[in-house]
Structure formats: C-alpha cells, structure tokens
C-alpha cells in the first residue's frame, strides 16, 4: 500500500479516501454506459469494414443490402460532405478534417484492414450484420506498407497521394508526414568525453489501449435539425465539434450526452461511430444505436504506434551522462499523427544531458490510425533509453538507482524542447524506490532478476468549466464537463468539500452534457484532477466569495470583514454569531437569490510527472516465459486528492506497461490482415499473471497549483517495459531490444547466446 504522505494537515478532506459517489450504481449494474441506452423505435447499426490493408474502392453497390427485410438505411462516404485536406487552425492540436472524415468512412481508398466502408441501420443487430454481407465492394488491391521501414523505403507504396512534408518539398509523394528535431549542445564533443558508449536499435510493437467497453453511440436526429448523441467518450465536447465537422452541421445543433465510460486510456478521445449514428438517424427518422464488437475495436480503433528507435548514449567513467543521440520513427497508422513528437520529448526527459540530438519521424503505414494511449509515445521511447541507461550504470559499476539520481533532472534542468523544469520530483521517485522495502529486499533464486526504470510524462492543462451549486439544505453539487473514467467525481467532490468545509458526502458530483456546462477538454493527458480540479477549486472559491458577501449583508459588514473557515462564516465584531452554510441558506433569497459558484480555466500545463518502477522477474530458460514476481511503482502525484484512486492509476498503468512488455502486440499477416482480432490472442494480463502492485505516492507539490496536484493518470505505464527488460538482463544475461518480450523472443535470445552464460548470469 501507499507510503504515508509527508505533508501534514494543510487539508481536511483532500488526501482522504471516501467511497466514490457513483460507486453504488456501478456495483449494482445500474450505471448506464453508452451501450445501455435504449429508446423507443431504436434501430441498430453495423459498419462494413475493409478486408484489405490497402486498396482502391472502385465501386460500392448497396442495393441488395437495402432490399433485405428490416434494413432501413445504408450509408457510405458519399453521404458525408467532403472536407478540406488541410490542417485546421485554431485548435490546440493539429487536425486534418479530411483525414478524420475518411477514417469515419473511407473515401476512394481503404488504408487498413478494418477501415470503415459503409454503415447499415436495421431493426435488429443481426439483420444489420446480415445486410453487411450483401454490400458489394469492388476493390483494386494495392501492396501494403506495414512497418516504418517499408513505408520509408525509396519505392514504398504511397498511402496518401496528397501527403507532403517540408523537407522533401511540394513535388514529392511520401509516407513521412513529419520530422521533428531537438538539439542541444555539441553531440560530437559530448561523445568524445564519454568513456562508455552504448548504442542499440529497438523495435516496439503496435499495441491497443484495451478498454473493456467497445465503442458505442446512439444518435437521435430531430426533425428540427438538432441532434443528440449518447456515447461513451473521454471528451463530449470533442465528440460534438468533430462530429459536427464531419457531418457538416453547426456545433450548436449537436448535443452530446456523455454516458458512463468503460475505459478509454486515450482511445476514446476521437470519433468513430458518433457521426454515423446521427447520419443513420437522419436517414431513417429513428434513434440508431451503433456498437462495435471486439474485432472492430482491435482492427479499427485506437492503437498506439509501434516503430523503430535507435538510441546511443554516452557516460563518463564516474557515471555522468554526457551525450545522447536518438533516431526514432513511429507508425502513425493510415493517417498522420503518431505521438512521435511526444516520444521525442520524453525519451531522455528524466536526465540532465548536456549534448543531445533527437530526430523523430511520423510515418503513415497500412494500420489503423493511431489514437492517444496513456502517455502517448513515451513508453516505447523509455524502453529504449532506460535499457541503455541500465547498461551504462552496469558499465560504470554504479547502482541503477544511484546512476539515475546522479543524472536526474531537477528544477532548472532544461527540458528536451528547451524550457527549464520547474520543481519536479524525478529524483524523489528514484529515491523512493531505492528506499522501498522491495528494493532493499534480497532477491534469491535461479533465473531471477530485478530491474528498475524511470519514466516521464507531461501534464496538459487546457480548458475546463465548473459550477458549484449551494442547495437549500446546505449541501452542494459540483457540475463539470469532465467524464469520470476512474473516480474523478470523488476528486471533484473532495475539492469542493475542502473549500466549502462540507462533509464530502454532502457534495454531489455531476457530469453535464455539452449544453449544460461550458466547454471542457477531454478526460486525458492527466489533466482532469489538475485542470478541472482547478476549475472546481475556483468555482467553490467563487461560491465562498458570494457566501461572504451575503453574510456581510446580513451582518451589515463589508465582505472583507467576513471570514470563512471550515464551513463557518464569521466576523470579528461583537455579537455576531457564526453561521454555517446551512444556517445562511434560508436567508439567501432575501440577500440576492441562490448561490452558484462558477469558474472556467485554461490551465497552464503544470508540474510534469515522473514514476520509477522496480520489477522482479523469473525467467523460465527453457520456454522463455517471464513471470512477474514483484512490482513496486513510485510516482510523484504532487498532492494526492484521493490516494486510493491515485494508487489505482499507478497500479493500472503499471499493469498495462507489463502487458506491453510481455505479450501484447498486433499480428499482421503478409497481406496486412490483422490475425489476432480478439482478446484470446491479443493477450492482456489477467490477474493470474500478476502479483499485488506495490505503490509509493511521492508528493512534490506542483508549483502554481492551489492544491499542488500533478496529473497521475499516465506516467506509470512508461517504466515497466524497460524495467522488465533490465530485470531479464539480470536474470538470464540477455538484453532484449524488441517488444513484446514474448516467450519465443526471450528463448531465442537465450539460446542464441553462449549457453554457459545462462547459468552464471543467474542471480544467486
């Protein structure tokens, strides 16, 4: 369990562990997820998907499907407006609406196995499925480019005929969508100072977020041109703006009601079915529910990039890192937009390295368009760099924790992109591992080893809105637009209760739809507790300010003479009896009406987050199977608002990282068809594959945030693959450079090295 926090009593509610407010609904089956919505007259939709990785669509004939009894509509990209093929300006992140629309329904070409081609609405899901079999698509099959190497080769098949990059100029067709470079110091000079240089090439596999709930959407189009979407999403406002764009309707005509969401991990920050549900509803005049099955989820949604990373780092004999050189290329999927720029900014982010150059390439390949996945781009990157850090520590004869502490980034160290870090907790997380019971314990037994790795991830800020309503009985409700994916309702209630001095049970957290609350960015980027939490904090402060004004009116004082502490209003004057919120509520009518505190923020990206993970493994040298014996993660949470859910994020991220390390990968055949389209062969960890996951919450408050919280949702996924690789190296003496480190790969590595070394490298 978590180590206690060092911070004392600055907070009354923050840092406690109340039962989550939405808990009972979720343990009784009453909570409504997207697929649980049903409406009178509702039709069921299904999507036809490409069986080819790369093909031109010569024609689509939907007549037979339309004629099937029970089928009410069939749509293709011809039913959607064609959107400009350019980067839209104004948003935080670049988006090409033409690409987005072509991913919803292919236009002219299919770019991956599973690419949506047409959609059907029918009176039952079975009829809709049977109708898909009747749609005739004439494809001209093209050779696919499945890896970054394939796609970057001189005569590679071109996926997007209009794609250009700055370096190759306007005349050259390419699959390289972007090149990003970061540079500091003098790399030659840096390596010349190194006593030890390690260089390796790493490959990582495409992996899926693996949320248990498939995508879903119910669209209801009204005859007045307004439409409503019920869906499970990480960002209802993103669904609204992107769906409106794809449908070619004003945003104001679309309302998105966020259902409960069964996991996202970044994969539900974009759209797939949502505009189709509205389009099919418009065509049929009925509500239409679309859901994906698991094969569709794996074939056509969200994965994160695999790719290739060449990483070279140098250190002096006494263990000081002096130079790093990185070349990395990530699979974007069928359309540009891999997280490679973020991977580049994360790969050496935990360290103070004076000389570096990082080149990063975003490459389109015939695989599903990648979506965000928990610390996008950082996990693959850290697998490379943290393996090399481990080897350098080994060469220098320095304990891997000490090596990291010695080179650790701290306040003032320049980040990869240049700006200096503010106060961060990188070194503190390594120290927490070094001092943990786990790291201090002795690991014994044959073929066992212990590995450590550190990870970095940003914290995005972005925009949030919040309202705090004071109710007639002195309780409060807090309304936000941030979907609750892992217990954030409880955090919002805790923050509100903290500010208002209420019992957390007297605060009801609500998540509003897009018309009921101001704009709020996605639940993602580790931003919800930090940014929406900031909005909630300020909205509650706004309510307090109003409460003080009202008390001042009643007491005939100035507002600044009124104090508010632990839920009590008071003034220093004689004869003024302090009032609780409950006491003042009956008087609100006569002093100006009800109180609603409001705030909106565009939070600055506050403190980034670090995690350090220690893993013990045992390797079966005959089969290559790696068992996780023990795992501990230390993470800087800034200030844990609800420690149980912080631990939960740390444990969940760690286990996703362990799955990525050991078994998860996309298997494509030589034609680019995905073979493992189910959870039988897309192997996520089961509880039988794991020990308890020990956690140490480190709290280095984020500067500039009133609570000091840092985002905790992502960074714990980053260290595990490298930590496991480092543990395997200690257990059996082989350095794994490819993810996943599946049994076949591990046994091959063991067998291809000197057999005698296997035994001698084993831990005592």
């Amino acid at each position: 369990m978590a180590a206690g926090t060092t911070e004392g009593s600055r907070f009354r509610v923050i840092g406690t562990r109340p039962v989550r407010h939405d808990g009972v609904e979720k343990v009784t089956g009453a909570a409504r997820y997207g697929a649980d919505y049903a409406f009178p007259g509702m039709l069921y939709g299904r999507v036809l998907r490409s069986p080819h990785a790369h093909a031109i669509i010569k024609s689509i004939n939907v007549e037979k499907a339309r004629k099937l009894e029970g089928v009410r509509a069939v749509v293709t990209s011809a039913d959607l407006p064609e959107l400009p093929d350019r980067i839209e300006q104004g948003g935080e992140l670049p988006i090409n609406l033409h690409h987005l629309s072509c991913n919803i329904l292919a236009r002219g070409k299919v770019l991956y196995d599973g690419h949506a081609v047409a959609a059907v609405a029918a009176t039952s899901p079975h009829i809709a499925e049977e109708a898909l079999r009747l749609i005739e698509v004439d494809y001209e099959v093209l050779p696919p480019a499945m890896t970054v190497e394939d796609a970057m080769a001189p005569n590679a098949p071109i996926l997007l005929p209009s794609l250009r990059n700055k370096e190759d100029g306007p005349d050259k067709q390419t699959n390289v969508a972007a090149h990003v470079q970061f540079k500091r110091g003098d790399i030659k000079d840096g390596f010349s100072k190194a006593d030890y240089v390690i260089e390796r090439t790493f490959k990582t596999a495409m992996v899926h977020q693996g949320y248990i709930e498939p995508h879903n959407a119910v669209g209801i189009y009204n005859a007045d041109g307004h439409a409503t979407i019920y869906c499970s999403t990480q960002g209802s406002f993103v669904v609204r703006s992107l769906s409106a764009a794809v449908l070619g309707i004003p945003e104001g005509k679309l309302r998105v009601v966020p259902a409960e969401i069964g996991g996202g991990f970044g994969g539900k920050t974009t759209i797939y079915l949502e505009p189709l549900s509205v389009l099919l509803s418009q065509k049929t005049g009925h509500p239409v529910k679309l859901t994906m099955n698991r094969a569709e989820v794996l074939r056509a949604t969200g994965p994160t990039s695999g790719g290739t990373i060449r990483c070279k780092m140098g250190a002096t004999k006494d263990g000081k890192l002096v130079a790093a050189e990185v070349w990395m290329a990530y699979e974007a999927g069928g359309f540009p937009g891999s997280p490679v720029p973020m991977g580049a900014m994360c790969i050496i982010a935990p360290y103070d390295i004076p000389n570096m150059v990082i080149d990063a390439y975003d490459v389109v390949v015939n695989r599903p368009k990648t979506a965000a996945y928990r610390a996008p781009g950082a996990t693959n990157a850290a697998f490379a760099s943290e393996t090399i850090i481990d080897e350098l520590a080994e060469k220098c004869g320095i304990d891997p924790c000490d090596f990291r502490i010695k080179n650790g980034a701290h306040e003032g160290t320049p980040q990869t992109a240049g700006p200096p870090y503010k106060r961060i907790g990188m070194i503190e997380t390594v120290e927490a591992i070094k001092n943990s019971p786990h790291y201090k314990s002795k690991l014994t037994g044959k073929n066992r080893g212990r590995g450590v790795a550190t990870g970095f991830w940003f914290n995005i800020g972005f925009q949030s809105s919040a309202m705090v309503n004071i109710h007639n009985d002195g309780t409060a409700s807090v309304v936000t637009g941030s979907v609750d994916i892992g217990g954030s309702r409880a955090s919002m209630a805790i923050i509100t209760a903290e500010v208002l001095g209420l019992d957390v049970k007297d605060v009801r957290p609500l998540i509003a739809d897009t018309d009921a609350i101001g704009y709020t960015d996605v639940t993602g980027g580790s931003r919800t507790t930090v940014a929406t939490g900031l909005a909630v904090y300020e909205a509650a402060q706004d309510a307090v300010r109003q409460l003080k004004e009202r008390a001042a009116k009643l007491w005939e004082k100035k507002p600044e003479e009124v104090e508010f502490n632990n839920g009590m209003l008071s003034a220093k004057a004689n004869g003024v009896k302090p009032m609780s919120i409950k006491d003042i509520v009956p008087r609100l009518g006569r002093t100006g009406g009800p109180i609603t505190g409001r705030a909106t923020v565009n939070a600055r990206a506050v403190g980034p987050a670090f995690a350090t993970t220690c893993v013990d493994v045992e390797v079966d040298p005959d089969t290559g199977k790696v068992s996780i014996l023990r795992a501990t993660v230390a993470q800087d949470a800034g200030k844990a608002v609800h420690p149980s859910y912080v631990e939960g994020q740390m444990q969940g991220g760690t286990v996703q990282g362990l799955g990525w390390a050991l078994n998860e990968e996309y298997f494509y055949d030589s034609k680019g068809v995905l073979r493992n389209t189910g959870l039988l062969d897309y192997r996520m960890p089961t509880c039988l594959d794991l020990p308890m996951i020990e956690t140490v919450i480190v709290e280095v408050p984020a500067p500039g945030h009133p609570i000091g919280s840092r985002g905790v949702g992502e960074v714990s996924i980053v260290p595990p693959p490298a930590a496991v690789a480092n543990a395997i190296a200690r257990a059996v003496g082989v350095r794994m450079t490819e993810l996943p480190m599946s049994p076949g790969r591990v046994v091959k590595a063991i067998l291809s090295k000197d057999g005698a070394a296997v035994a001698s490298a084993a831990a005592d």
Binding site: G29, Q209, I212, G263, G648, Q656
Partner: protein, 160 residues
Amino acid sequence: MHKTAIETTINGERVEFLCEPRQSMLEVLRDVLGLTGSKEGCLTGDCGACTILVDGRATCSCLMLGVEAAGHKLETVEGLAQGANLHPLQQQFLENASLQCGICTPGFLMSAKALLERNPHPSEAEIRYALAGNLCRCTGYDKIVRAVLEASKATTSKAA
C-alpha cells in the same frame, strides 16, 4: 423471425420471455429484459464482463443462447444486493476502490460470488485463478483481489 417463449428463473423470480434462437443470453438480458448490468466486452468468452451464474456456476452469457435458459436458475449483478443492502462483495469493492471505470465490475462480482459460494475462504492464489476469466484494464487487479479477500473475511460461515 419466429420467436420462442422461454420460462426461466432470474434472480429468484420466474421470468418468461420471447427470443429468437440466435439471440444470446446476454442479448436477452440486455435488450429483451432490460437488465443491462451484464456487459458486453468481447462476445468470445475472453473478458468475463457478461458473467452471470447459471445454476450457481459462473458462465459467460455471451456464449449461451437465450433459448438455453429454459428451466435453469440464473443470477445477474442486479440480484446481488438484497434491496438496499449491498452484498459484502459490493461493499468491499466500494471500500477498497476496486473499480475505476466500472465496466468489468459486474462480471468480477459474479465470478467472485461463484467462488465464495464454493470456497468461502479462498487464498490469494485461488482468487486470482477464479478471476482469471475476467479482464480489468484499469486497476491492475490489486484492489479487486483485496476486496474479495476482505469480503471472504466478512462472509460468515454461510456464504451470502
């Protein structure tokens, strides 16, 4: 499409429903009977989100036809609490923060119930084995296993 009338027992009550033979038990529960607590995660028996008990045994309702329910006793997550009294497993899931998104929770609760009814005081290893057919992507399982351990302590000699 012709439908068949099926008589069965769900959560202790006799239930009659009409379904097509191709409809799964999961589909019948969710779309015909409105019991949406059982979740669809994979439709291949690999995730356990649709777990119900059939004659006391944990079963994937996605791999059972609705017509097969005739004459059997089914239990779903909706029948776990007795009125306003939560089952010890539900209580422990809440207190141990064993759910994040919550989509897998009904399936875990039903698998854990099946386990505790046969083995009221399982070891951690036995719990992990019994829950291996239920995938959770949020929690890393730690807090789920702890909740079942706690619930087994809370459960008196006679399993609830």
